[in-house]
């Protein structure tokens, strides 16, 4: 080893790899982050691989389970190591208010009027309309549950159930099981009495609940017969029915739907390419392929109109599925998630 080489090695070590890792960051390819499981498998086939072929460059991918803190840490580090991220409605609102995202170039996307109004934001472009709904294995249950009240009825449907761990997607369902009409759920939940009522209803079911955290878990729980019913992301249900020949069913009345959006992290080194990727994933001819793999609604109006009728009926955006569903209130949750989560943890621990 000559002196110059030794010095450069020593320099790197003494700078504790900071200098070296900066070089690595500059060379990094476009990194797209989504939600894993069979949903990301579908995205890989219709978005990641074709875009990579078109651009002539590799597309790196990662998956995550949400959380604004993850994005905050990446952005505050200076140069984020993710470029495009699919985020939930609250993360979109929080991150946009806090300056974590680049502004969207709507000209590249063909204008805002090509999309559902709720899928348009300064910082994000709608990727899917998805639903969290009561799901069950029709091969195991003779009689079909029809509502959240049935979910709570352990005499009629004996066995364990599972819900997503956390107040979100538990308190809303508890209120509906307690007889609150879907349209009034957030009105009731906005009052302290409403929150008490929801927790009281959860009390009844507590010994029978298995809590899940990532979207793939409820499928596993249903498939193994560990639970008789669960809340689950609707697209994954239709996905597993197709790929593994299951007979899982989704109960649409009382489901909660929301929009997930593509965002670009602030100061991403691949900003332009990230915008191109989002434009690619938003083109109707690309987006229309999604429901073949996984039953999520499409925010691009032209793509949504092109979905064949037999696939259309499984989407959260189908009119008959929307009729008794609730739109997730992102504003309610960005205000209350911390306090309610604290209370939820305390409730769980009792």
């Amino acid at each position: 080893m000559n002196t110059a080489k030794m010095l450069s090695v020593a320099g790197c070590v003494s700078a504790l790899l900071i200098g070296c890792s900066v070089q690595a960051v500059q060379a990094r390819d476009l990194t797209v982050v989504s939600w894993g499981g069979n949903y990301q498998d579908a995205q890989r086939k219709i978005y990641f691989e074709p875009f990579s072929k078109k651009a002539g460059k590799p597309v790196l991918e990662e998956s995550w389970d949400g959380g604004i803190g993850v994005l905050a840490a990446k952005v505050k580090a200076g140069t984020p190591n993710w470029d495009v991220v699919q985020v939930e409605a609250e993360e979109l609102a929080l991150g946009c208010a806090d300056g974590f995202y680049e502004k969207i170039d709507w000209n590249k996307l063909g204008g805002k009027d090509k999309f559902l109004p709720t899928a348009v934001d300064d910082c994000g472009v709608g990727a899917i309309v998805w639903s969290t709904a009561l799901s069950y294995d029709a091969n195991r249950l003779k009689e079909a549950p029809k509502s959240w009240a049935d979910f709570w009825d352990v005499n009629k449907f004996p066995g364990k159930r599972s819900l997503r761990r956390g107040p979100k997607y538990a308190l809303e369902f508890a209120l509906m099981a307690d007889g609150v009409p879907p349209a009034d759920v957030y009105k009731v939940l906005a009052t302290p009495e409403g929150v008490d009522r929801a927790f009281k209803k959860l009390d009844q079911l507590k010994p029978h609940i298995v809590w899940w955290e990532s979207g793939a878990q409820p499928l596993q729980l249903l498939a193994s017969g560990e639970v008789v019913m669960t809340s689950a992301y609707n697209g994954r249900i239709s996905g597993i029915n197709k790929t593994e020949g299951k007979n899982f069913k989704v109960v649409w009345p009382g489901s909660l739907y929301a929009i997930d959006s593509w965002v670009i992290l602030k100061d991403s080194p691949n900003k332009d390419q990230a915008m191109d990727f989002i434009a690619f994933a938003s083109q109707p001819e690309n987006q229309v392929k999604l429901p073949e793999y996984i039953a999520y609604g499409l925010p691009n109006k032209e793509a949504a109109a092109k979905v064949p009728a037999d696939l259309q009926k499984d989407l959260p955006t189908a009119p008959e599925n929307l009729s008794n569903a609730v739109a997730l209130d992102a504003d309610f949750w960005i205000d209350n998630i911390e306090e309610l989560n604290k209370r939820f943890n305390a409730w769980l621990a009792q």
């Binding site: 298995v210 017969g225 911390e338 989560n341």
Partner: protein, 395 residues
């Protein structure tokens, strides 16, 4: 005379510079950041300086005077660092739910209006007529705070500044912390009960038998934690291998509840952590002369007595350091309890993860970390005293 040793000492010091640098950057600095994050609370005074200056003169009765309200309007108009403002909003919303949408709406309205128009906050959003939002703002002005540390152990300051317990049902950090140590202790005991005989066996046999025994411990250590935990999921579930086998043998009629409860967590964690118990004991036993047991026998001790009086005291240092390792690693566990545990088995790391990754409340996440660190250090201190105690080592 004295110069040569000094130079030698310098040379020796140079050799450990990389180690010191490593410790400073990857250990002390993150630790310092965590402690700092838990007590520093300067975001409001930094981002809303006029409000901070004006609100200290308010006595906290009713609503603050108009100049405080106008100072806030002016601050929001001037705040140009979006990320810093976001931190302030997060800090305030963590104290009173609702600040998030309130401040977003107010900031947008203030920026849309012209400078000449005085903005009436109460008209803009009726929440500004509630004193609790203003009180939270006033509480956030001092640059240092103990609210995170207090919240980490379910305490808070009441309106008068006295330290009181949180309302029951509002927070359960203390309980979860206690549970974390309880689970870690059970896992340590279980690991010791299995690990000690195992290590003795491995040290007693030779050749391929020893290799096989050691590999059986080491191979799982090289496997990803997630894979091992998922494997336990497959084994323990109601229709899993263990329950199926027991039912086929006719030992049980209905499946044993092995998963989504404490039993599952202890089984899975013990398996994952067993190598940390076996290896230290094994390495201590290797240095024990083999003829000691024979010597004990020749002096009339039965096998049990020889074990109790000779082998066990000699393996105690290994057992102690193994226990310490297992315990320390166990209190940080997160994935295993989340996957095979029930609602009552979540440990403190999952709460820390929620604040760090879920809501970006790094102050509270840091405070929980500080408390965990303190308790662990106390336990380590006790361990240090115990392991030095001569009686325990049988010396």
């Amino acid at each position: 005379m004295s110069r040569a040793p000094a130079r030698e000492r310098m040379g020796a010091l140079l050799l450990i510079v990389p180690l010191l640098a490593f410790l400073a950057v990857f250990f002390l600095w993150p630790l310092w950041t965590m402690v700092r994050a838990s007590v520093v609370d300067d975001t409001v005074s930094r981002v809303l300086p006029r409000t901070a200056a004006a609100i200290v003169s308010w006595d906290g009765q009713g609503l603050p005077p108009t100049q405080v309200q106008q100072a806030l309007v002016e601050d929001l108009r001037q705040a140009d660092d979006q990320q810093a403002l976001g931190e302030t909003v997060r800090r305030l919303n963590s104290a009173v739910s609702g600040f998030r949408t309130l401040l977003t709406r107010t900031t947008n309205a203030v920026r849309d209006g012209t400078d000449a128009v005085a903005v009436d906050l109460g008209d803009l959003d009726r929440r500004w007529k509630e004193p609790r939002f203003w009180l939270a703002l006033r509480d956030a002005v001092p640059p240092y705070t103990d609210r995170n540390l207090l919240a980490a152990v379910d305490m808070k300051r009441d309106a008068g500044g006295a330290i009181v317990s949180e309302d029951p049902g509002a927070s359960a950090n203390r309980l979860i912390m206690f549970r974390t140590f309880l689970v870690a202790a059970i896992v340590t005991l279980a690991s010791a009960a299995i690990g000690l005989p195992y290590a003795m066996l491995a040290a007693a046999v030779t050749g391929w038998k020893r290799t096989a025994l050691l590999l059986a411990v080491l191979v799982p250590l090289w496997t990803s934690l997630l894979v091992r935990t998922t494997a336990w999921f497959v084994l323990l579930q109601n229709e899993g291998l263990i329950n199926r086998a027991l039912q086929a043998m006719g030992l049980i009629d209905s499946p044993l509840p092995l998963i989504f409860n404490r039993v599952g967590v202890v089984i899975a964690m013990t398996h994952v952590l067993l190598p940390f118990m076996v290896l230290p004991i094994y390495s201590v036993l290797l240095s024990v002369p083999r003829n000691l047991m024979q010597a004990a026998a020749s002096m009339g001790a039965g096998p049990l007595r020889a074990f109790w009086r000779v082998l066990l005291p000699l393996s105690l240092p290994g057992l102690l350091s193994g226990s310490l390792l297992v315990f320390m690693v166990a209190i940080g566990y997160y994935i295993t309890p989340a996957l095979v545990g029930g609602a009552n088995d979540q440990m403190i790391s999952s709460v820390i993860a929620f604040y760090a990754m879920g809501t970006a409340n790094w102050g509270l996440a840091g405070a929980l970390g500080v408390i965990l660190l303190l308790v662990t250090m106390i336990l380590y201190f006790i361990y240090g005293r115990l392991s030095k105690s001569p009686q325990l080592l049988g010396a």
